[in-house]
Amino acid sequence: MAAFGSFALLIALALAAYNLLAGALALRLIATGQPAAISPERLADTARRAGIAGFLAVIAAAFALVWSVFANDFSITYIMEHSNRALPAAYKFAALWSGQEGSLLLWASLLGIYGFVLRLTHKTDVKLYAYAGTILAGIQVFFLSILCFAAPPFSLYQGAIPDDGNGLNPLLQYPEMVIHPPMLYLGYVGFSVPFCFALGALIMRYPGEKWIKVTRVWTMVTWLFLTAGIFLGMHWAYAVLGWGGYWGWDPVENASFMPWLTGTAFLHSVMMQEKKGMMKSWNVWLIFSTFLLTLLGTLLTRAGLVSSVHAFAQSSIGTWFVVFMGLVLAVCIFTYILQRSHLQSEHHIESLVSRESSFLFNNLVLLTACFVILWGTLFPVLSEYVVGNKVTVGAPFYNRVAIPIGIFLLLLTGVGPLLPWRATSFKSIRRNFVLPVITFWATAIVCLAVGVRPWKDGAFDTGNFYALVAFAVSVAVFTAILSEFLRGAGVISRQTGKNLFLATWLLTRRNTRRYGGYIIHIGVVIVVIGLAGAAFNRNIESEMAVHDKMSIGPYTLECVGFTQDSNLNYNSEYALLDVYQGGKKQFQMSPEKRVYLITGQPQTMVAIHSVPSWDLYVVYEGTNPDTGQPIIKAFLNPLVGWIWAGLVILVLGTLVALVPSISPSTASLRVPVRSAPTEPALKGGHQ
C-alpha cells in the first residue's frame, strides 16, 4: 500500500503540473490570440480534466494512508509514529491529520476536492473557472511537491518493523479531534478558491462584479468551516486540556484566527463592491491577504518559528512555505500593479456617517485586530532579533489590546445596520439609536446593581470592566438587530396581514443574505456574552478523600469514591462526586485521568455539567505524590454554554444567508455588467 500511495502522489503531482502548465499556456494563447498547433480551448479542457484526474489520484493516496492505518502497517514510518493496534477506529481515521505528513496530505486532498467541485461546475463561467482552476493547480503543485519530496507520508520504516506503533498523541484522542482538524482545514484550504478567483479575475480583467457573486458561496462556506473549526478547537481545549479555559492566545490558535478576521472583513467589504463598485483594490488585497495568512498559519504551525504548545506537528518544512509565500506575494503584487487600472472605484464614500463608511470602519477594525494578533505572535521573534531578548506575549497583552478592539467591533456590528446608505441625518440617528443607547445604559446599571462590577478584591479590574462593557454593548447591539427585524416584519405584517412571527419568517426569506447576516450578528453577540463571563470564573482545588466535601458557587461536591478501569488503550482512574445544590443531591460527576499504555502519557478527561448560567467543570488531577490523596479541582465558569449556543446561531445564520432569497429584492440593483471582451471566449463560455 505504501508503494501505491507514493505512486498515487507522484501521479497527482504530474497531473497538477500538467494542469498548471497546459492551463497557463492555453489561457495565454487565448489572451494573445496567437495561432497554435492545438486549439487553446481543447488544451484548456485537457488541463481541466487533468485536474479532475489529479483529484482522484490524491484521494487514492489519502485512502492508501487511511487503509494502512487500519491495517496496522507499521512498515510505514508515519503509521508507526501515529497509531497503534489498540487505537479505536475513529482515532485511527484521525491519525491521518495527527502528524506533519498526514495533515499535509489532508490539505492536498481537500484542495483536490475543492478543485474537483470547481472544475465540475466550470460551465458557470468557463474562462474565469479556467483561470481559477489553473491557479489552484499551482497551489496543488506546491503541496504535492512537499508530499513527494520533503514530507513523504509513505516513507518506510528503517530497521526491524515493530509489532506495534507509538500510538496517537493522547491529547488528540477526543471526539472533537475527529472533526475539528478537518473543519479547520476545510476553512484554511477553502480560502484558496476565492483567492484563485480573485487572482484569475484580476489577470483576465474580468468585466463587472460577477466573479464576486460566483465566489460568494465559496467564501461563505469556507468561512463557515473555518468558524466551526475554530470553535470546535476551543471546545476541545476546554474539555481536554483541563485548565478551565478555551482560548490561550497560543500562536497556533492565533494562526487560525487571523485568516478568519481578514475573511470576515472580505465578506463585509465585498458587498460594497457588489452594490456600489467600491473598494475593489481593497477586496482583492483582502482575499490575497487571507490566503497568505492561511499559509503563514501553516508556517507557524510547522516551522517552529514561535513557541507553541502545538508541538506535535513541527518540522523543518518552513523554508518551503517561506519560498511559496514569497512567490505568491510576488505574483499578487505583480498582477496588481499590472492590472490596477481595472480596479478603479466607480463611486466613493460620501459621508463619514453612512452605511458605506461603517463597512469601511468595520474592515479597519477587523484588520487592526488581525494586525494586533500577528504583531503579538511575532513580537517575541522580533524582540529576539532586535535586542537579543526573547519575551513572552501572552494573554495579558491580548486582553489589554485585543479586547477593546473586539468590543469596538461589536459596537460597529450594531451601529452599521442602523445607518442609511450614502449619508445620514441627526434625525435618523436619533430615531435609530435611542433604543439601543437606552438599553446600553440600562444593562450597565442593572449589571452594576446585580454585582457585575469593574473591580475585584477592592481594586479596579480591567477584565471585569471589559465584561461589564461587553454585556452592555451586547444587549444594545441585540436590541438594534431586533429592531431591524421588527421594523421590516412590521411593514410586511401590515401589508400581508400575517402575524409578526410569520412576517419575520417571510422577511428573512425575501432577503436571506441580509437577515442571515443579522442572525450571524446575533450569534456573535451571544458568543461575546459567553466570552465576557470568563471575567468571573472561580476555581477551588482540594485533596479529597472519600466523603470529603468542597463547595463552589451554589454547588457542594462530595467525594463518594474512586474507581479504576482499563482497556487495551489506556488505564483510567475516576473520582465519583455527588453534587448537591440547596442541600439536595442533583447529579453525579466522574472526572477521569487516563494513562495511555503505549506512550505512558497521562490525560485528563474533564467532567462538565453545563447550564445556561454556568459550567461546573471538574478535573481529577491525579494524586498528590507526597500524601497519596486524590486532587480535585473544580471551576465555576459563568456563561460558557453561551459560546457554543452562539456558534449554533452563527452556523444557522450562515446557512440562511446561503439560501437564495424567494424574491431577489436587490436583483435590480446590480450594476450592469459591461460588455464582454470581443475576443472569442472559451467554447461554451458564459460571460
Partner: protein
C-alpha cells in the same frame, strides 16, 4: 428654541446616566487588594506549559510551586511589585513575564497596535472627507454633465437601498 430644549434634555439624560454609573462604580471599591493574585497572573510558569503561573494546573509541576512560593516570599518581605518582577526576570529571564514590560523595546509592543489603528483611522477619515469634499465641488461645478442613464441608475440604487441592508 425647541431644538435647544431637546438638546438640553439629552444632555441631562446623559449626565444622569454617567452619574448613576459613577455611583455604582464607587460602591464596594474599597475591598483589600490581592497582590498575589494580580502578580501570579503577570508571570508565566517556566516548566514549558506556556500557561500563566496562577493558572498552571499540572500536578507535580516542577516549577510552579517554587515560583508561587518565591512570589509569596517577595510579598511577605515587603518588596514592591516592580522589585518582585525584577527578581523573577533576573532569575528566569524576561520570558517569565506574561506580557512585555512598558520599558525599552518592549514598549513598542504596546504602542504599535494603537499607533497603527490611530494612523489607519485618521487616514480613512481624511480619505472619506476628501472624497466627500471632492464630490461636493464636482457637483457644484458641473451639476448637469452626468449621464442621464447613469443618474437614473444611481437614483434607482438609492431608492432601493434607502432602507439599508446587505
Amino acid at each position: 428654541m425647541k431644538a435647544f430644549r431637546k438638546f438640553s434634555f439629552w444632555m441631562k439624560t446623559a449626565q444622569a446616566a454617567l452619574l448613576a454609573t459613577a455611583v455604582c462604580f464607587s460602591l464596594g471599591a474599597t475591598d483589600a487588594g490581592s497582590r498575589f493574585n494580580n502578580l501570579n497572573h503577570r508571570l508565566m510558569c517556566t516548566c514549558g506549559c506556556a500557561e500563566i503561573l496562577g493558572e498552571c494546573n499540572h500536578v507535580g509541576c516542577p516549577n510552579s510551586t517554587g515560583e508561587l512560593n518565591e512570589l509569596r516570599d517577595g510579598i511577605a518581605n515587603g518588596q514592591s511589585d516592580e522589585e518582585i518582577l525584577h527578581t523573577f526576570i533576573g532569575k528566569y529571564g524576561a520570558i517569565v513575564l506574561a506580557a512585555p514590560t512598558g520599558h525599552g523595546f518592549d514598549l513598542v509592543a504596546w504602542i504599535a497596535p494603537f499607533a497603527v489603528f490611530a494612523a489607519a483611522l485618521l487616514g480613512t477619515i481624511l480619505l472619506v472627507r476628501r472624497w466627500s469634499v471632492g464630490k461636493t465641488v464636482a457637483a457644484a461645478a458641473d451639476p448637469v454633465t452626468m449621464d442621464p442613464a447613469e443618474r437614473e441608475r444611481r437614483e434607482q440604487i438609492r431608492r432601493e437601498t434607502g432602507d439599508g441592508g446587505f
